[in-house]
Each structure stands twice: as structure tokens, then as C-alpha cells.
Amino acid sequence: MTIQQFRLPDVGEGLTEAEIVTWRVAPGDPVRLNDVLVEIETAKSLVELPSPYDGVVQSLLVDEGQTVDVGSPIIAIRVDSEADATPDDTTGTRAAEPTTVPHPVGAAAAERTAVLVGYGVSAQEPTRRRRRRALSARSADTARPADTARSADTARSADTARVPHPSRPPVLTKPPLRKLAKDLGVELAEVRGSGPDGRVTRQDVLDHTARRVLPTPGAPGLAAQSAAQSSWSTASTADDAVRQDERVPVRGVRKATAAAMVASAFTAPHVTEFLTVDVTGTVELVDRLRKDPAFAGVRVGPLLVASLALLDAVRNHPDINARWDQENQEIVRFADVNLGIAAATPRGLLVPNLKASQDLSVRELAVALNELTVSAREGRTRPADLAGGTITITNIGVFGIDAGTPILNPGEAAILCLGAVRRTPWVVNEQVVPRWTTQLSLSFDHRLVDGELGSRVLAHVGRFLEDPMWGLAMR
């Protein structure tokens, strides 16, 4: 005869506890397999628990109203023998004294412990980490047959150095490091792992690379390394990281941008002025145009209104649309406004321009801006579009930035910078009200543009953006 304890199961996929609501049995009651023992309430529902045993109730281990953890014994049932747990098998020897079996029914279940999800794990499964057979001692150049390596005699030898072998267990490491090793041409099995359980760490891979490549001056791909770097590296200890800086050749647009910016920044004395304006009117106009059937299919944004504003400022202050001709010691006033738009493209920063943009209608300008930005984004800006600009707008507002001090496109006298359009408190008629505002900045070449002209141009742009209907009416 044995006493079986029934532990509270998790009846609902991840429950950790339940309340004992009503016992349906009392000590001394006979119970049959699957008779209801108790009603419990979980976080999910009221549930009846059926008996896993045939037998007699020995004792109730938990009172009604108590909340118990999953896995706690709740009832002890006296059964004739363990085998009685299954009704089809009634044979079994009766022990003289009851013995307490603190686990569920059956040989397999008796060794199970309750876990978060209903069925238990076998008690035989170790809670500690499984022990590995130690990998046998060997030097790196003596590969041995796998079965010898795993033989019991050599299994416990101390050295755990790993050598590559097709049938060896895989090296413990993380997928990104496997890729790193592959990229570096490192055989992971050759790397000594310093992490837990011999796990190979990033540092291990890098150290291995350092040891491997440095004494090999002719290694492919490393020919460009200078002797100085080699000696530096050799001098360092093996534990030092070899974190190599990446060196990217300067080509194409990057090279052109660098040359242009140096030429501009160190020849034209730059002045930058700032103006914060209420652009609620501009926002409203943009909304209106977006809804207008005449603008269907045309992207309309603040850049369009800013372009109109700058063109209008140039109309009123043509001296801003000019350049300094150092060679001839002349100021060149451009006949046309070739309006450049700074664009971040896959190739890098490009400033394509709209030729004779002063002659375009509002809609034509919108379409042209569209075409220009789409072409730039798709990398099909024509060289002609990049040449001959006279004045530029850069829109850093699209990146959420308020203002900057732009550097002039070489050969131009001014560049207008648009900030982000934000909702800000603004004083209108002595009332603080929320308005759309933005910061404008204008850099200009002080050789030919004085503070007065620059200020007037920026003020004109600001006024236009504040009241674009006025601006268009005055056009």
C-alpha cells in the first residue's frame, strides 16, 4: 500500500497558482480514477480536478479558500499499489506499511516534477547542466578518429583544445561570430574559446586573426598594410584587439563635394542670418493646393512656397542672384534665376537647378521641382541640371532640423536654408496662440552681399512665407 500525493497541476497553459474552492471528497472517502476530487479556481476559470488514482482519501493537504502554487501537493490518496493507478491492472504486492510517494501516478510520472506547463519534466532530467565528455588531449596537428576521441578512456583528459574534424561537435559560438569567422577566413575549430563552456567570443576570433595574419607579411589582402602598422601590431600583446579602421577611397560625388565645399568655404567669406517666421499661411496654402484638382498628381510642400518666396525676393533684390568673379574682378549679375535645390541622393549630395525658374508659373514650378527631386532620388540627374546654378535652397527641415549655417554652392552668392515646420506658441494680437513656424537661415557671400541686402532678402522671404497670398498677388 502506498500513499500517493496529487500535486496541483497547471490546467491552463502557464498558470502558476490556483485557489482551492470546494473539496468534493473527505478523508476516508473511496475515490475511483477520474472521480472529481476538488474544484479549483484559476486566473482563467473554475475547474474540476479528477483523481488520477483509485483508492481512499488519506488526507486533504490544503484547506478550502487557500491559494497554492502549481506543483504543491493538495491531497494524499491511499492506493492498494502503484499499479492500481491504472484500472486495467489490479495486481500488485501490498506493503505492510504505507509508504508515501510524493509524485503523481505511474513509473514515468512518479519521476516527474511540476513545471509551469501542465505535464511535468522527468526528475531524471538534471537540473544542472549536462556534463560533456571532455575532448581528448592532442596537439593541433594530430587529428584522431572521432571514435577514439570519444572513447571513455581518453574522455576525461584535461586538455580541451579543439581541432577541426568533420565528426566533431560544432564549436559553441554565436551566429554573427560564425559569419565573422567565415569572413575573416578563420576556422572556428582552431580558435580557443575563452567564454563559458569554451564558447568562442568575438575577442577570441579577433585574437586568433591577429596571431594568424601578423607574422605573414605577404598575406592576400594585407599587402597594403604598412610596415609601421605591422610592427605596431607585432609589438602589441595577443590580447589586444585588432580593430581596424575602415579606409574608404574618396571618389565621385564625395570628392566633388569636398572640393566644392573647401573652395567655397575658404574663398567666400560667409555670413549667416536667421529669421523665425509664422508660416501658418504657407501651410494653409500648401493644404489648399494639395486638394486642388489642378495640382492632382503633383507633390506640393513648403519647398514650393519657399522657392516662390526666394524667386520673389530675387525679383525685388536682383543683386542677390550674382557671383563674384575673382579673375576679372567683377560682380556678375545673372540674367536668369537658375534655382538650385540641394538633394540627398544615392550618389551623395547633388544640387540640380531649375533653369530660368523666374519664368515658371506656380504649377510649372511645382511640376519642375517634383521632376527635379524625383530624378535626383532615382540617380538620373543629368549633368546639365547640375551646372549653371545661380542661387540655392537647402531643406534640412525634412530631417526635423531647425536651422543651419549652409555653405554656398561655389559660384553663387546666397543659399537659403529651410528649417522644420513646427507647431509653436506665437503671439498674435497680444494672444499666445499655436501657429506653424519655421526658422529660415540665409548664408551669403560678404564679398558682394552686405548685411543690408542679405537682411532684406531674408526678410522678404519671411514675409512671403507669412503671407503667401500677398506674395503671389505682388508677383
Binding site: 476559470s45 479528477p50 486495467d88 511540476a114 505535464y119 549536462r130 556534463r131 568533420p166 566533431r168
Partner: protein, 367 residues
């Protein structure tokens, strides 16, 4: 006539709202049902046995879950007639794509209790090799099995085989886009599929009334499927309509849908508490239409059963329950190395190497 020889549904007895029914909920054979009495008597005993065994198995599995031996169980209680009536009406080599509640159909096909339970005990991802049973593993992401069935049926079509593909799903799955896609693709290709919908009235806690404004069988008709609605708790009616529509499909008539009106007597799963969303009176109304007691009443009234037969089935059910418990408690985790063998038909070199590496790794442990 015997229901298995029925090839047309035109003459089948129907309730006033067009639902095919042979036996009323109180076990009376409908007067408009013309049947071969002896043949039906033999058939009904087989079907009853299948239903009783399924219910006993289902109850035992439910108890095992409540005793902490299964992580989860989805009861088929109340749907035995829909499942047994249909699976008994198709050919043994007709390929079945079930949801996860088709225990009665699975047992009918000979799938062992241990195989039905291992997934729910958490020792394996699925229970059995579908091929020998022509019964696919359970689908957990519902409505996917309709697409699997349709795709399989397109293959059957190209093989020139006369196999019919049967897929089981519920009213909940019918609301998913996959179901509509599957029905449409099956219809446009005239694929040999029988879509067997067990409308058990509840998609977990969502009632069928808030899922569809029209009966599901009418929706199927809209896709161009031959469709019928049947009393899903009347095993004879289910058998008859499944026989008829399966032959329709087999003879090249294109896909069909059967909507079996039934009821899920248990919760959605052992983690569900159905009392939170449905009333006791609804449950009682359906208990009065129970598919098993209906057949018991019918057999008694028609003189098709006696105590010896009932005792025999009872004994068999008890033995099945004991076996179910025994097999459940003895379930072992599978050898993970087997996973490599069941993924691809031809094991490529790389996979073989990975398997060998895994086996070497597994064998590298002392304990």
C-alpha cells in the same frame, strides 16, 4: 437504401429549413426517410461504436490534462457524429486534412491514442506519419488546412488519381481569408476536395452569429461549390450526405462543401472557460440533441441493439481509456536525430553531414 450507396442528395429527408436529417433529436427515424432497414442497422452499430470510443478517449484525455499529464487538450465532445459520420463515408485512401479537434475521425483511421496525445504532452511537434493513415497531422493555424487540402487535391488531379481530399474546419476558420481563397481556387480548378465544416457555433468565444450573415454552405455555393447543410449531430444524415457529395467529387463534379450543424459541448480548450460567454440554457438545449444518446435511442427503438452489444462497446471503451492513460504516461521524447529524416524526401549531403554532426554532439554527453 443504405446511406453509403446514396449518390444524390435530392431525395434525402430534410427539416423545414432544408437541413438534411434522418433522425430527430429524440431518436426517431423521420417518416420521410426511406431506408434499407437491415443495412442501416449494421451501419449504425459501426458508427455508434466509433462515436462511443471517441467520446471515451476524449474524456480520458481531458482527465489527463486536468491531472497535469497533458499541457492542453481540445475536446471533440458533441461533434462525434459529424466526425464519425463523415470519415466513415469516405474511402480509406481519401486524404484528410484535419484541424486539431478531429480525434473521432483520427481514431476511426486507426491512429493510436499515444500518437494523438504526444503533441499535447509536449514531447513532439506532431503525432504521426500522415501517409499510412491518409490523415495529415493536426493543423494549429486554422484555415491553413483548407489551402493544404486544395493544393494536395490539385496534385491528385494531376496524378489522374480518383482519391478525394477531405478537409475539416469550423465556423471560425471559415471566416478567415484562407478559407475563401481555398474554396475559390478549388472551384475554379474543379479540384477534388470535400470541405467539411463543423459549425459548432463558437470560434473560441465568438458566436457564429457574429461571424456570418449567411449560412456557410450558401457562401460556398457562391464560389461555385456543390454544398449542403446537414444536422451534424445526426450521424446517419452526415454519413448520407458525405457519401453522396464524395461520390459527386470523385466522379469529377468539382469540389463540395458540407456544413454540419453541431455544437462544441466543452470549452474551446482546457484553458478556456466557456461559462464566461455562453449560457447554461444554450448548453442544455444542445445536450438534448446529443449525437450519442440520439443513436442509442434510435437503436433501441428500431431493435438494432441489445444489452450484449452495448456492454461490448462499453468494455471496449474502458479498455481504450486504460490504454490511452497507459500510453500517455509512457510517452518518451523522440530522438531529435529523427527530425532530419522527415523533412526532405531525399536527404542531401549537407543535411546528412548536419545530422552526423548532431549525433556526434548528442553522443558527446556523459549523461
Amino acid at each position: 437504401m443504405s446511406t453509403s450507396t446514396i449518390t444524390s442528395t435530392a431525395d434525402l429527408p430534410r427539416t423545414s429549413d432544408g437541413c438534411i436529417q434522418f433522425v430527430t433529436p429524440d431518436g426517431q427515424l423521420r417518416t420521410d426517410a426511406s431506408v434499407d432497414h437491415d443495412a442501416l442497422g449494421r451501419l449504425i452499430r459501426d458508427l455508434y461504436r466509433g462515436m462511443r470510443l471517441a467520446r471515451r478517449f476524449d474524456d480520458e484525455a481531458f482527465a489527463l490534462q486536468r491531472q497535469g499529464e497533458l499541457g492542453l487538450w481540445l475536446q471533440c465532445r458533441g461533434q462525434e457524429a459529424a466526425q464519425v459520420g463523415s470519415i466513415a463515408a469516405v474511402r480509406a485512401d481519401d486524404f484528410v486534412f484535419p484541424s486539431y479537434r478531429e480525434h473521432a475521425a483520427a481514431l476511426w483511421r486507426g491512429i493510436r491514442p499515444a500518437d494523438l496525445l504526444r503533441q499535447w504532452r509536449g514531447v513532439a511537434n506532431s503525432g504521426w506519419d500522415p501517409e499510412p493513415y491518409s490523415f495529415h497531422i493536426y493543423t494549429l493555424v486554422l484555415a491553413a488546412q483548407l489551402l493544404h487540402a486544395t493544393g494536395y487535391a490539385l496534385g491528385v488531379q494531376r496524378d489522374g488519381s480518383d482519391t478525394v481530399v477531405v478537409t475539416y474546419f469550423g465556423d471560425g476558420a471559415a471566416s478567415e481569408g484562407d478559407a475563401s481563397e481555398a474554396m475559390n481556387i478549388a472551384a475554379t480548378n474543379q479540384a477534388p476536395v470535400v470541405f467539411f465544416c463543423q459549425n459548432n457555433h463558437w470560434a473560441i468565444s465568438t458566436p457564429s452569429s457574429s461571424q456570418s450573415r449567411t449560412p456557410i454552405h450558401r457562401r460556398a455555393a457562391g464560389f461555385g461549390l456543390r454544398s449542403e447543410q446537414v444536422d451534424g449531430n445526426d450521424v446517419l444524415a452526415v454519413h448520407a450526405v458525405t457519401s453522396a457529395l464524395t461520390e459527386h467529387v470523385r466522379s469529377g463534379g468539382g469540389p463540395a462543401l458540407i456544413e454540419a450543424i453541431t455544437y462544441r459541448m466543452g470549452g474551446h480548450s482546457t484553458s478556456d472557460d466557456p461559462t464566461r460567454y455562453r449560457t447554461d440554457s444554450e448548453l442544455e438545449a444542445w445536450r438534448a440533441k446529443d449525437p450519442v444518446t440520439r443513436v442509442e435511442a434510435l437503436m433501441h427503438a428500431q431493435g438494432w441493439s441489445d444489452d450484449a452489444f452495448l456492454d461490448e462497446v462499453q468494455a471496449e471503451a474502458d479498455e481504450l481509456a486504460a490504454r490511452t492513460r497507459r500510453e500517455c504516461l509512457a510517452l518518451q521524447a523522440p530522438d531529435l536525430a529523427d527530425a532530419f529524416a522527415t523533412v526532405l524526401a531525399d536527404v542531401p549531403q549537407l543535411l546528412q553531414e548536419e545530422r552526423d554532426a548532431f549525433v556526434a554532439y548528442r553522443d558527446s554527453f556523459l549523461d
